[in-house]
Symmetry: C2
Subunit: 402 residues, 2 copies
DNA sequence: ACGAATAAGTCAAGCAATTTGACTTAATAA
DNA sequence: TTATTAAGTCAAATTGCTTGACTTATTCGT
């Protein structure tokens, strides 16, 4: 008798799932459109007025939405707009990076309530976790002061760090934080904070931030190329963040460009790490951004050279992303403030001709996204909120997390 | 007062949607696993025994599933396995291509019941539609003979033709069927047959076929590179076919490879069109495959050269696809039978190192898929069945087709 | 051979959540 | 002033999953 093969099947659904979905759809609609009346919501979601009323009632009871002043807009009874309550939920974002780690606390609509930074030892995650737990405890106490039920409203901790995860790769001379990537970080942070912890790579976090608050707001198909010490792409496909079969989708920094006999990963030419190496800036230097900005302003030859080479490969990367993903837009984000990123975007233009329609576009083919060094932390913080409140297939299903 | 901006929102869900989803989940489980008892289905889907029993009852009433012989497998009451009924639904697939068009009729489990071919004028879709309607009517009558309620069980017509759609591109010397791509084909076929008609590109159709019956059976993340007169990739992402923001995702044939000063789309070097052009085979020749096979068997120098160049670009294409999509497997399919495609896959190996895990894989990184010239037609026919019976987010929602 | 254990499946009531259709309220337009 | 329009409520109906007890059929252990 043959060995019992596991049965593979997708999860079933039940009423609780549909209700959860409908709640999320309403929250999503309020986030994308601002305040809406129940009648508006009913029309926009396809639900009945009655169903929307019931859902709004529970959401209001949960402190997630609140009504505004009556609005008279023509004939008929005036409508009561509802909007998201910023203090309805909070979320903690944690970016772990090579030279600095950042924590941030945001509310349901993305306001930043507290932030802090620390350094963690890149090769000693065990000690690093202690530092991070202190850091989190600090901001948690700071923002909770004066907010009565703040603790109960924390959706979780979103962690972002450089990927890829679960992969042994030959060291390619960039600093990969291998020790952290094989460490049970999620479990340790969950145990140390009592909160739900989720992990994603920095590019995915950036895409989450762009979708919730930035250049991809309201779009369902977007590729967000994140230029940091490494390069990755966060993928919004069909309205959801796509992470692939093993959690490593979008690692566009590892795509090979250059001559056929000397193929080079994109991030060897276009990452901030490669620029810093070229101009001799130490990424651990707290004044790194000012020094870089001075070089850019001075028209430094090496910076211009780097922009030229980086833009050449990025132009092909954008073309490849457009061709393979057919997104509504490609966003270039990066953790470097100032004039560099706009200059890089300008240097990438004109884009290579692609399938992407040129006429009648609502958004440009390529646009600059966030260049705030805190963008990844913001996106990390957005992740628990997204998980808790955004419509998604898995939210409907009985077995979660598939 | 400002102009009324349309409200954007996702669709809500209701009981009918959950039930529809659960039915699909059960059909999907039976397709992937073969016959299963209701208790097995309950465990695999997370539904209760009772819910599964009710669903099976309606499915059996609809003639979609049927019970088999009791099975004794240890202690406890014997179980009653259920399996899909092949004749529960039929579907028509229509491949429109440059030199030949193919129709096929398949049943719910993928058996081929009828097929036929015709030629349509590549630049005169108006006349072509008449030919196609005749062709469809012919196979429809042929397969329906002797099957009482065949007509009522036809899920629809799936049409596959070369993409991309809705795009004006500068002619790149390959034959692009532009006239057909801007023609209201779906509407005309729907009106002429009274059936639901869906359109996809040939690579997507191939991926659908591979997922339902071939090398991607049961996988939720796969990239299917289809090497035909052009090259495209069908994307199975998160268990669903992904088509992008404008319906043109996966056009990997248009990704540029080669030297930086002479970037060439993949399909200029690796498509069957490029091979035929090189060795002087006319794709309209009915003996095209035999002639090609003879050249391959004879070890023709030009064929070997083509394989070498095509494999070099395809190796990078596979690497790019692995890096961006992080699939469980990459499948290489093509409309050319015989030894060519296996030789091409062999020439692509060894693959470039990528993020894709090498140890503990259930499926290889790259594998050969269907090389039947009918593969695209089969996939086209699989599409209406997929739409009607596969679990998908949109199936749960009130407003369909989003 | 017999009872205990185990597993599949049914029955009937319970329950959650949307839907339906009539009704109420409040505004503008004619 | 009245008709019309639109927002929102009320209460009953309906759909479809869940619950828990029960039945049936088989194997295992003694």
């Amino acid at each position: 008798m043959s060995e019992q093969r596991p049965i593979r099947a997708k999860s079933g659904a039940n009423h609780e799932g549909t209700s959860a979905h409908n709640r999320r759809v309403i929250i999503d609609a309020l986030r994308v459109n601002g305040a809406l009346s129940r009648a508006d919501l009913a029309r926009a979601t396809g639900l009945t007025k009655q169903a929307v009323s019931n859902l709004i009632e529970t959401l209001e009871g949960d402190g997630l939405v609140a009504s505004e002043e009556l609005v008279r807009k023509g004939r008929g009874q005036p409508s009561t707009p509802y909007r998201l309550v910023a203090d309805g939920a909070y979320s903690i974002g944690l970016q772990i990076d090579r030279h600095i780690s950042r924590v941030i606390v945001v509310d349901l609509v993305g306001n930043i309530l507290a932030r802090a930074t620390a350094k963690v030892p890149p090769r000693a995650p065990e000690e690093g976790v202690a530092v991070l737990l202190d850091l989190v405890a600090g901001v948690r106490a700071a923002f909770a002061a004066g907010r009565p039920d703040a603790e109960a409203r924390i959706a979780g901790i979103g962690v972002a760090m450089p990927g890829p995860f679960g992969v042994e790769i030959a060291d390619d001379s960039l600093w990969l934080m291998q020790a952290w990537q094989s460490f049970p970080l999620v479990e340790r942070l969950a145990a140390g904070t009592g909160l739900a912890v989720s992990l994603q790579n920095d590019a995915a976090a950036c895409a989450t931030a762009e979708r919730m608050l930035g250049a991809a707001h309201g779009l369902d198909h977007a590729v967000c190329i994140y230029v940091g010490y490494g390069i990755g792409a966060g993928l919004i496909l069909g309205g959801e963040l796509y992470s692939g079969g093993h959690g490593n989708a979008g690692e566009i920094g590892m795509v090979l460009f250059g001559e056929p006999d000397e193929l080079v990963p994109l991030e060897h030419r276009a990452s901030i790490a490669s620029l810093y190496a070229l101009v001799g800036i130490d990424p651990a230097d707290p004044g790194q951004f000012d020094r870089l900005e001075a070089l850019v302003a001075a028209g430094d030859r090496r910076v211009a050279d780097w922009i030229g080479r980086a833009a050449r490969d990025l132009r092909r990367a954008v073309h490849t992303a457009e061709t393979l993903f057919d997104p509504q837009t490609v966003i270039l984000s990066g953790g470097v403030p100032g004039a560099l990123m706009p200059a890089l975007v300008a240097a990438i233009e004109p884009l290579l001709p692609s399938l992407s329609p040129t006429a009648g576009r609502a958004v440009p083919r390529l646009r600059l996204g966030m260049t705030d060094p805190w963008a990844v932390a913001i996106g990390a913080a957005a992740d628990p909120i997204r998980r808790a409140f955004d419509p998604s297939f898995s939210a409907i299903l009985k077995r979660q997390g598939e």
